[in-house]
């Protein structure tokens, strides 16, 4: 699935829920299926700042695709980061860098999107795109 396809799929999932509580329950559910990172990555280096809860995100390149893993001490944060992982993981760096994030609006998580918000969604996206940039550069170097 492409980034856009996953995004659409997620938007559809959320559209089943009318009220905020069901939406959050779904986020919480997603938190429980998060591809967890190895304990050894739970260090300051992988910590994303700007969040009230602690979130660690790791990334590795496998066959030209980026594989993200993450963990957090808060369940909602886990759900949100998993939502991003579903969209970004297993995609080429290029795709991740260019990804249009407007689907987050459509889910009804818009309130989370302001850079001043304490949940750090913007910081997470920034960090994940940054990983993609690094991998893209690496891949170019290898080709050269």
């Amino acid at each position: 699935m492409s980034i856009q396809e996953t995004a659409t799929k997620i938007v559809n999932e959320f559209s089943l829920f009318d009220d905020w509580m069901d939406k959050y329950n779904h986020i919480i559910e997603m938190g429980k299926t998060l591809p967890m990172i190895d304990e050894k990555y739970k260090t300051d280096q992988y910590l994303i700042s700007g969040c009230q809860s602690r979130v660690w995100v790791s990334a590795e390149l496998a066959e030209g695709k980026v594989i993200f893993k993450a963990d957090s001490d808060a369940v909602i944060t886990k759900g949100i980061v998993n939502l991003l992982i579903r969209v970004f993981s297993n995609q080429a760096p290029e795709e991740i860098i260019d990804a249009d994030m407007s689907f987050i609006d459509e889910i009804g998580l818009k309130e989370h999107l302001s850079p001043t918000r304490s949940n750090g969604l913007v910081s997470m996206i920034k960090q994940m795109k940054l990983y993609a940039v690094v991998f893209k550069t690496k891949m170019k170097e290898q080709q050269a």
């Binding site: 509580m21 919480i28 009230q52 369940v75 304490s118």
Partner: protein, 406 residues
């Protein structure tokens, strides 16, 4: 009932809002309070009439503004019963006041043989300025520990204070836990050793009547915005004898008597510590807040707040899995708690959706959170305009949180 909370609520326009389609419950009062209409109107009135720069103007508006500004200083003096109006220094907030004391007192009285005592319950504003000045002056920073009950360990304090101690800086009421410190005992012990005491009263002034002379403190500081006044104003009360000895802090216009490139002489108290155009509008607005509070009476406010706090603690404790922090310690205004193992951020996010404003996190008091080995807490901080109904709504929200994260 003599305390008519529903009538009082009418004075606070911000309380009558809907958040996510639900009536707002504002339980973030320790972060900042809502303002009575009288304060909001006073600020607007000021800008519509006498708005001017103060002190040096011969013209009518400037003289009116100066009178109102200095009248506000006198009102603050009267309210906390300071001996002199020049012992009231206007700052931009409690943090600014503490920085002033740490910097100015510190440069004068701290050296490599000196020690400063703070406590484990402090807000960062009463920690970091002391860390910085102690490092600069090579002095030692010592910290009063807390007991199991969450109260300050006075025995440890008595052993800690000695000939080297130059100042004790402690909070009156902890913003993170709501614990009321035994401030009079601390002052008595310190004064036995001739050590002055600075009290961080950012939360203290909100929940009790303050008489700085009866309390005996050497410095007392607080912010207007937590005490129903406008943002951008703080107060530092200091005993004349200390303020006289301390060097100026910030410099510029107003705080000087004469300036030449060779030599500058400083103005008298309180101006020695006040430079630049003061926040005249908000200082005058703060006077309206004091008038408003005084009109109701701090004694009735305190009685009512204690009643709802007590109700709230009981109500929340009755919920299985809710843990009140520093339970059993004397408290004012604050319920700081955890729900099962649920992360405070998770809980806060859901509680918010009920239209209830609580704060989550370390409340700028990371050391005490570290001591308690928790990442933070959920804090419901009450004001006299809150009601038992609102507490019931919080209790319901907590039950939903428990269900959602079960």
């Amino acid at each position: 009932m003599s305390f008519d909370v529903l009538k009082i609520r009418k004075d606070f326009p911000a309380l009558h809002q809907q958040v996510y389609g639900k009536p707002l419950v504002y339980f973030d009062n320790a972060a900042t309070s809502q303002k009575p209409e009288a304060v909001i109107n006073q600020i607007a009135e000021y800008y519509r009439t006498i708005n001017s720069n103060v002190h040096r103007g011969v013209h009518y508006m400037s003289q009116q503004a100066t009178d109102a500004f200095e009248g506000s200083r006198k009102r603050i003096q009267e309210y906390i019963n300071a001996a002199n109006h020049h012992e009231i220094i206007i700052t931009k907030g409690a943090t600014d006041s503490i920085n002033l004391v740490a910097n100015s007192f510190g440069r004068k009285f701290l050296d490599e043989n000196a020690e400063v005592i703070i406590s484990s319950l402090e807000h960062h504003a009463n920690i970091v300025p002391w860390q910085v000045i102690c490092e600069k002056q090579k002095a030692k920073l010592r910290v009063i520990p807390v007991t199991e009950a969450g109260t300050l360990d006075l025995k440890a304090f008595e052993q800690m204070i000695n000939d080297k101690t130059k100042i004790v800086a402690v909070g009156h009421i902890s913003n993170a836990l709501g614990v009321v410190n035994p401030i009079k005992k601390i002052i008595a012990i310190a004064h036995q050793h001739n050590v002055p005491v600075m009290v961080d009263g950012a939360q203290g002034i909100v929940h009790d009547s303050i008489d700085v002379q009866a309390m005996g403190c050497d410095f007392y500081c607080f912010s207007s915005h937590k005490f129903y006044g406008p943002m951008g104003v703080g107060v530092l009360y200091g005993k004349e004898k200390w303020l006289e000895e301390m060097p100026p802090y910030q410099t510029g216009g107003e705080m000087i008597k004469s300036v030449t490139f060779e030599k500058t002489t400083y103005n008298e108290l309180p101006f020695k510590f006040e430079t630049g155009t003061p926040n005249v509008a908000d200082v005058i607005g703060f006077k309206s807040a004091i008038d408003y509070i005084d009109g109701i009476g701090m004694e009735s406010i305190k009685a009512y707040e204690d009643e709802i706090l007590d109700y709230g603690i009981k109500k929340l404790k009755a919920i299985d899995g809710v843990k009140i922090l520093a339970d059993g310690a004397p408290k004012a205004g604050v319920i700081s708690f955890l729900i099962d193992d649920i992360h405070p951020y998770d809980a806060g996010t859901i509680i918010d959706k009920f239209g209830i404003a609580v704060r989550t996190g370390n409340h700028c008091a990371q050391p005490i959170m570290d001591l308690l080995c928790i990442p933070g807490s959920i804090r419901a901080s009450l004001a006299f305009y809150n009601t038992k109904d609102e507490i019931d709504r919080l209790a319901e929200a907590i039950i939903t949180v428990k269900e959602m994260f079960a």
